[in-house]
Each structure stands twice: as C-alpha cells, then as structure tokens.
Amino acid sequence: MTIQEKQQEVIEEFSMFDDWMQRYEYMIELGKSLPLIEEKYKIDENLIKGCQSKVWVHAELEGDKLAFTADSDAIITKGIVAILIRVFSNQHPSEIIEADTKFIDEIGLKEHLSPTRANGLVSMIKQLKMYAVAYQTQLN
C-alpha cells in the first residue's frame, strides 16, 4: 500500500466515530499496536524534542524501505505516534519525504497539529522525515 492508501484507510476507520471519546479510545487502542522500539534505542538521542511526554523513535532500512519503531510514556502520544508509523513505515524514504500530512486534520486531530502544541506531533512528523532524508542519501 502507498502512503496515500494507508492515509485513506486511517481516515475511513476514524470516520466511523461520531464523537471525540470514541476517536480517542480508538487512538489509545492503536497505541497498543505500536511496533515498540528496542530498549537499547530508548536513549536521549532518540528522544523527540518539544513533547511534554517522552517519545523515542528509531528508524532502520529494510531493503530500500524504512521501518520505524517507537514508544512513549504517555498513552495518547503513543496512539498518535502509532498512527504516524502505520502510515509512514515500510515505505521508500523518498515517498516519506514527499508525503503530506493532511489526513491528521481529517481524522479530527487537527488541534494536535499546532506547532506550539505540547505533544509535539509536528516535531514527530519532522523527525520521521529527517530519518527519511538521512537514509535517502544512504540509498543514493
């Protein structure tokens, strides 16, 4: 599946809910399916800055695809990073670099997109793209 298709899939899933509680409950559920980062990578260098909770992200190349693992000490943040990783993981770095993130808006998490928001969703997206940029140069 392409990033676009995955985003569409997430949008459809979230469209089933008509109130915020169900959306957040689902997000918390998704957090539990997050591909967890190995303990050895849970180091300060892998922490994403700008979050009130701790978020660690690690990236590894599998063939020409980039696979992400992550964790957070806050449950909602874990849900958010799980959605991002589901969309961006196992894609070619160039696809990740070019992908837009409008789907965040469509699944009713727009408020998390503000750069001043303490959960650092914007920082997370930036970090995933930075990994993609770094590995893209490796592939070239």
């Binding site: 915020w20 509680m21 957040y24 409950e25 918390i28 009130q52 909770s53 701790k54 000490d73 806050a74 449950i75 909602i76 943040t77 303490a118 959960n119």
Partner: protein, 412 residues
C-alpha cells in the same frame, strides 16, 4: 496581613457575570477554567479601563504638555498609588512598573551584580519557579557568589531549621516565593525575612502566586523587594510591579538605559532620574499599568479576606473529592496552602489526563510548571495542576471530578 474579620456572603454567580469568558464553551462543553495559577481571567471592569484608555486619552506620558498626555500621566500615576496602597508601601516611588514578575526579579538580580563579590552567598528555596532560579545562577556566574538551596520536606514545606543553619555572615541575598506555583505552599516569609535581616541580607519575595490570594503588607513584612504580575490578579499580561525599599532602590544601579530614566544627558555624562523613573526606561505599558490599577480596585471591592475564605472552601472540597479517586497522589500538602492542587494518578501520565480534560472543556496545566527541581524532588516528570480562583464554583469542581474519573477510565 491586613484582613477584615467578618466575611460577607460570597455571591459567586454575581461575580461570574463580570467575566464574559466564563460563559463560553470549549469542545462543546461549558468551560471550566482551573488554570488560574498560570493566568487569571479578566473582568469587564478591567476591559472597560483598557477601552477607556484607548478611546479616551491614549497618549505618551510624563513628557507632553497637552491634555491627553496629562490625563494619561495622571491615570498612570494614580495606578501606581493604587499599587502602593494595596501593598501598603510607604512611598509611591517605591513601586516600579515592570513587564511582570520575571522582569522585576531580573531587575534586582542585575542591580546586585555590582554589589556582590566572590564568596558571598545567595539562598533560594527548593521550590522556586525557573524565573527565580536562572537569574540568580547568572548573577552567581557573573560575581563568583555561591547559590545555596533551602530544602523542603515531603509535604512540600520549606525546612526552616535548615534555612537557619544556611544563614551566615556570608549571606547577602535570600530569594523565596511567597507561594509555590507548583505546590501552592505558603512559605513563612515573615520569619525568613527576620532571620535574613539578622545578618543584614536583603530579601526578595516572589509574590506572583500569592498576590491573587493574599494581600501582602510590605511594611509589616519588612521585606526589601516584593514582585508581582498583574495577569495573575485579573489584570492584563505584560505588566507587573516591583516593590523595593527606597534605600535599596537608591543603591541599585539602573537596569536599562533610555528615555524616561534620565535627568540630564550630555555625551560626557548622564545623570539618572530619581525613583521610580530611574528603573522605568522607555515608554512603559501605560494602558497595562492603568488596567492593573483597575484590577486591584476590582479585587479589593470583593475583598481579599472573602476571596481567601471562599477559595479555601473550594480547595478543601476538591481535595476531599480527588482523594476518593483510587491511585490519586497529591503533591504539596503543606499545612498552609493556596487553592492549588498538583496531582497524578498512579500509572497515568499527566499529559494524557490533561489532554482528555481539555476535550471535556476543563482547562488545567500539565507538565513541570517551570519548577523542574520540584518535580525532581518528587521523582516525577510532571503533574496535573488544578488551580482555583474566586469565580470558580463547587459545581465546576463536581464536573472536574467526573471528568477526571472519565479520563482515568479511558486511559486504564
């Protein structure tokens, strides 16, 4: 403290009508504003003062001969007198307008740079806001003075006996907050000031968190410096006041150079203006200062004794209700505290709780509250902090408790 002895009936519903923001909705729910320790809401009376200024007599002060300038100057200086009277300062020129508490602290720290030498000691409490730690660290770096910390106990109270042993002939300055922003603890500042004065050390009290609840009497306290922010007491942001004893303000060099703060200027020599203008370089926040005065009028009209009594009832009620929730841990259980509750629920991150409360229209603060040393002391990443004001209600506390329970259920 100057307080009346008899409480009037507290008409909270009538008071709430003064605050237009309190009737708005957030995420479809009625707003419950419990982030008063971060900033208080603004009553119509203060907004009116702001509108009156801009629609009636907006002009630069202290230098115009025209009517508007005179009117603005008069109102601004009247506001200074209101602040003087409120804190019972001996002289109006002992009140310096600032941009807020942080500015006031930096002004004093900067002034002391020329008065300290290597080996001198500065004492700060373990429960300070970052704004009351960083300026002193910078001052220590500059002067070679040493920063020493007054420890606290598990209840979040300063250990006075430890403070007594820290005080010595080397102590030149003591900085303590009147009330801790993270814990709500009311510190025994009168005792601290007396002890510090026994070795001729100066004392600066950060009154930012106390001023909305307690009317400090700077003469009775015999404090050397007391700093506050207007926005914590129903005034606008970007304005505050530094009270300083005349003798200290005379001793300290000016903070910034510019207009307003000079008497005469030539390229050879500038003589500084007298107090308070020596510390008020440039065009000040004129409207903000006037609105600060209006906010003090507003709060005094309600009465600080009445405010404190009512808020204490809210605090006791909320504390009791929160404690009924399983896994609840409250940080800061000092015998004397203001209407602030810092808490965590076992196994849950404060950020998660805060996010879900916001979805239910409830505004609280989460995080380290700019007091990381306090968080380190309790070995936690942060807390959820609910802080109440006199316009909050018992019904809002019930909504808050229900929302906390709901959030807990969703997260577990």
């Amino acid at each position: 403290m100057r307080q009346q002895t008899q409480a009037k009936t507290f008409e909270v519903e009538k008071i709430r009508k003064d605050f237009p923001i309190l009737s708005r909705k957030v995420n479809g729910y009625p707003l419950v504003y419990f982030d008063n320790a971060a900033t208080a809401q603004t009553p119509k009376q203060v907004m009116d003062a702001i509108v009156d200024y801009y629609s009636g007599y907006n002009a630069n002060i202290h230098r115009g001969v025209h009517t508007l300038s005179q009117e603005a100057t008069d109102k601004y200086e009247q506001a200074r007198i209101k602040i003087q009277k409120h804190f019972n300062a001996e002289n109006a020129h002992e009140i310096i307008f600032t941009s807020g508490t942080t500015h006031g602290i930096n002004m004093v720290a900067n002034g002391f740079a020329s008065l300290l030498k290597k080996g001198d000691e500065i004492l700060v409490s373990a429960m300070e806001h970052h704004s009351n730690i960083v300026p002193w660290q910078m001052l220590c770096e500059k002067t070679g003075a040493k920063l020493r910390v007054i420890p606290m106990n598990d209840k979040g109270e300063l250990i006075y006996s430890e403070f007594e042993t820290l005080v010595s002939e080397k102590t030149r300055l003591v900085f303590v907050n009147h009330v801790s922003n993270a814990l709500g603890t009311v510190n025994p500042i009168k005792k601290i000031i007396e002890k510090a004065h026994s070795v001729n050390a100066a004392v600066l009290i950060d009154g930012a968190q106390a001023a909305p609840h307690i009317k400090a009497d700077v003469q009775e306290l015999d404090v050397d410096f007391y700093v506050v922010s207007a926005h914590k007491m129903c005034g606008p942001t970007g304005v505050g006041a530094l009270y300083g004893k005349e003798e200290w303000l005379e001793k300290l060099p000016p903070y910034q150079g510019g207009g307003e703060m000079i008497a005469t200027v030539s390229f050879e020599k500038t003589t500084y203006a007298g107090l308070p203008h020596k510390f008020e370089a440039g065009t000040p926040n004129i409207c903000g200062g006037i609105a600060f005065g209006a906010a003090l009028d507003y709060m005094n009209e309600i009465g600080f004794y009445e405010i404190a009594t009512y808020e204490h009832e809210l605090l006791e009620y909320a504390t009791k209700k929160l404690k009924e929730i399983e896994g609840m841990k409250i940080y800061g259980e000092a015998a004397e505290k203001t209407a602030v509750i810092s808490f965590n629920i076992e196994g849950l991150h404060p950020y998660d709780i805060g996010t879900l409360l916001d979805k239910m229209g409830i505004a609280v603060r989460t995080g380290h509250h700019c007091a990381q040393p306090v968080m380190d002391f309790f070995k936690i990443p942060g807390t959820v902090r609910a802080s109440f004001a006199f316009y909050n209600t018992f019904n809002e506390i019930d909504l808050f408790i229900e929302a906390v329970k709901k959030a807990k259920m969703m997260l577990q």
